[in-house]
Symmetry: C2
Subunit: 425 residues, 2 copies
């Protein structure tokens, strides 16, 4: 299904990038950038440069044939992708085809080149104004590990886990772009043996390596999104997402209404949104779902699919885990169909996370809670250093690669964050 | 503390309203309205009319002395209160004092009168663009009742309940204004005796009678809001809030990450936001908190207070419950301090619900789950009708009154909603 042998060769850009460049012509992720002299607006990454797409589209309306199409300049000269997301899936395809055309046909080189800015000269911003943020829990291995650690006296998977993609709402206002420092949260912690809760900085600060799905195209209240149409119409693209988690705060607060302050202090996403169209060659069948889900969650393989993304979790420069997204139990289309089956509406700019990506092998676990088994098995970093949870000054970077079109490989934008000490009370 | 005997008399408006009018001069709630010929903008309710405040402020900048103050016209000529909320608490006070002045001093009558529109001639809209929505669980009686019903084999209150105001994030995009129909949600339900979940319309559709707090004035990520300042600086006002709940969907989905689809299909709020300034006379001490909360939740009585609001729950025309807000265990300032103690930032337009308002007596319970004890004790409506949960076509209206300044009573804007049948699958 993913063999590059059968797909047509990738087009060649006049930028003459090496075929293994993570931001080659088959990728073209969207972000929001500014320069010293300009305000934030949409840009597209190509090679080591950022294309100022609203400017090019402004010129292009007269000269390169998008005059009859959507008003991309208006959508792109904004400080978030939301207006572009609002145009809908047909216009996303028009825009992508036009970008490929102007970056591959030599006739456009002279006109486009002045609008390329070296990536080191730009500031990257949060790419979307997050409307609602939902986090799922779609890895069977992660849910099993967490169940064993947090609820050792119960079955690790709750009875509902294989019937529906469990999810909950998170805090949209604290989603931040890669590179933003994370202040160690304070809060209430209480170990089982403590007589009462105490207050202070989290002692079990953790990550969750996730994929985030960016939603475009709103719906009306009361109208579910069918699983057959969810990916095609409403999944615009993906970001890497680090759902920073304070495990001690979470463990004390989360019964009965779920995680709250253990998660809401910050969620980091990559600056670049990789379009779903760039991941067509990375689609793979889901793992077998047993029992078969209820009909509203079932769909054909072109609608309900997995993704073959290879992640890396780097902790202070050492890669400590390599999660595989293909291990995820629930597909993004099933998550979106479930999220809306009760009639909940969606908006452009909605973001949902996959949940921590963990595989069966220890070195594919996507959280330090799992890698250190709740602090009992230290993780070796370079130079003899060891860790269980995050210390002040630590930096975590998530990266991912996937098959692109025509036998290429694409590399998603990384998401990084550094822990800074808790504020003095 | 609330005796009207000691407070100064209420000013008298040239509108000459009866002293017991729910929207008298001591109330002045804000909303967003439109007329046949105008787009949505901020209005203030006075008597049975809506004052077109951005228009009056535009004139007033030259004639009635707000020329040196905030640009209220710019803040009020918007389709939500968010820009006004962004001005901050000092400007909210300036605006309120100015409104009282122009509605009480006869010199302004001729200039203001042309900008009053009868409330029956306007359409009311959602008053805020909801940023993040959080729902708390601050009634001890409600939490105890729900614990008994959902977890009969455990202690009804979880061990954390008296140490922190439990809350969770809800769906901001499905908050709707009073009068919006509610489509019965579909989803997965599974009774303990069912071998597997089934799919269909909720059979246990319920309400939760709550107060919603509207937040103004944003903060930076990493900076908690101190409990001493939370109410004064960041609580702009209150709405009545109906957190519609599908109990069968909720019971199956909510372990371990909390309520999701059982709540996210719709949350109704009143069209009028009552300023906290209008509720000064309704402040009362909290019930005794035992154990004493951790220091970050403790504050002086002028910061950490309860509210003496009397609610009515009307079901198809029959009042079935009269919850008392003064029974709530946690104060709104404690909720906001807790919400931000981990460094989570807030934004103007954030909304948080108190959680269901239930008292010790059966006729003060704020949900039908509790009133019918999970369907086992039918509730009598008029004309011999009985109900356990909501049927299609049912209408629920929440109302509330409170002490206003100078011995007046104010009546909050009602929140109503009617159940329409689930869509055909």
């Amino acid at each position: 299904m993913t063999s590059p042998m059968t797909s047509p060769p990738a087009p060649r850009s006049w930028l003459d990038l090496p075929p293994d460049h993570p931001f080659g012509i088959t990728h073209l992720p969207y972000g929001v950038f500014s320069t010293a002299g300009s305000s934030p607006r949409v840009g597209v990454r190509i090679g080591d440069q950022v294309l100022d797409v609203s400017e090019v589209a402004r010129i292009g309306r007269d000269t390169v044939g998008v005059g009859d199409g959507p008003d991309l300049t208006a959508a792109w000269e904004r400080p978030s992708l939301n207006a572009f997301l609002d145009l809908g899936h047909e216009d996303w395809a028009v825009a992508r085809a036009w970008l490929v055309e102007i970056l591959t046909d030599d006739v456009h080189e002279a006109g486009v080149k002045p609008h390329l800015v070296p990536v080191e000269d730009v500031t990257l911003h949060l790419p979307i104004a997050v409307a609602d943020y939902v986090d799922f829990y779609a890895s069977e291995h992660h849910a099993t590990n967490v169940g064993r650690i947090f609820r050792p006296d119960s079955e690790p998977l709750t009875p509902n886990w294989k019937h529906l993609p469990i999810g909950y709402h998170g805090r949209a206002g604290t989603v931040v772009v890669s590179g933003t420092d994370v202040v160690r949260p304070q809060g209430q912690r209480k170990a089982a043996t403590d007589p009462a809760p105490s207050f202070g900085p989290s002692r079990k600060l953790d990550i969750e390596a996730e994929l985030g799905f960016v939603v475009g195209g709103g719906t009306a209240l009361g109208e579910p999104v069918a699983v057959a149409l969810a990916a095609e119409r409403h999944l615009f693209g993906v970001v890497l997402l680090n759902d920073w988690s304070a495990r001690d705060i979470q463990a004390w607060e989360y019964v009965p209404l779920g995680p709250f302050l253990g998660k809401s202090f910050g969620t980091s996403v990559s600056a670049w949104v990789t379009p779903m169209a760039a991941l067509a060659a990375a689609r793979v069948p889901l793992p077998t779902q047993d029992p078969q889900p209820l009909p509203y969650l079932n769909g054909a393989p072109d609608a309900v699919f997995g993704l073959d993304l290879h992640l890396e979790v780097e902790w202070n420069g050492t890669v400590v885990s390599r999660p595989e997204y293909r291990d995820m139990y629930w597909s993004p289309a099933q998550m979106l169909a479930h999220l809306t089956v009760n009639g909940a509406s969606i908006r452009s700019g909605d973001l949902f996370g996959s949940g921590t990506i963990s595989g069966a092998a220890k070195d594919t676990r996507g959280s330090f809670l799992e890698l250190s088994w709740n602090g009992t098995e230290p993780v070796a970093l370079g130079d003899g250093a060891e860790r269980t949870f995050l210390e002040d000054g630590d930096t975590v970077v998530l990266r991912a690669t996937a098959a692109g079109a025509g036998g290429t490989r694409i590399g998603l934008g990384e998401v990084s964050g550094r822990i800074v000490p808790a504020r003095e009370a």
